[in-house]
Symmetry: C2
Subunit: 119 residues, 2 copies
């Protein structure tokens, strides 16, 4: 009687919000300062509704804020939500900094074994 769940809502999680390439590009652009929707859409080659929808997601996870400026609505970056992601990935830093000579060799072995196995 329980309905199966699908994917976690993109709107509830920063990790999901930045999983979208276009949303990442929006964030990159906003580092240069506030922008109205239309300008973002134009610079990123997407439609205005498309931009608005992505901005809505980013707003709901708190990565952007919006401000009315006359007829326009300016979107600005609020990068604080990216900090947890940075820290989470940072928790793996020692695993890519440590001596991976053995790992590298291992990976090579795997690739070779696969090639041999498939031919």
């Amino acid at each position: 009687m329980m309905a199966p769940m699908a994917r976690a809502a993109t709107t509830s999680d920063v990790f999901n919000a930045i999983a979208e390439p276009q949303r990442r590009e929006i964030l990159l652009l906003l580092r240069a300062g506030e922008r109205p929707v239309t300008e973002l859409a134009q610079e990123l080659g997407m439609t205005q509704p498309g931009a608005s929808k992505h901005l809505r997601v980013l707003r709901e996870v708190g990565l952007v804020r919006d401000r009315k400026a006359g007829k326009q609505r300016l979107y600005g970056l609020d990068a604080r939500g990216l900090r947890p992601v940075h820290e989470w990935t940072g928790g793996f830093e020692r695993f890519w900094n440590e001596s991976f000579d053995r790992l590298d060799a291992y990976v090579q072995d795997i690739k070779q074994a696969r090639q041999e196995g498939r031919n």
Copy 2:
């Protein structure tokens, strides 16, 4: 005549791969060392097929590697793919470290305005 696209394939992008909470938990667990599938499933409270599927995604984006160990198959962490994510978010570091006094005040204003507007 072109079929519309939906979401980018989760299998092609590390950002998408780590958008899934359970997959993130798998990666965290694997920091402690290699593990067979069943053990992972058990420790994370998911079914074996569920674990296998998530591991498949992680493998396809290169975040884990697998190694046959007799009857079992051991999965191990390969965190190098997380480095780009760490660096990407790091590109926003100055935006959460810089003086955000004005931003904080601004955000407070927004919240207050919303509350007043809605009550």
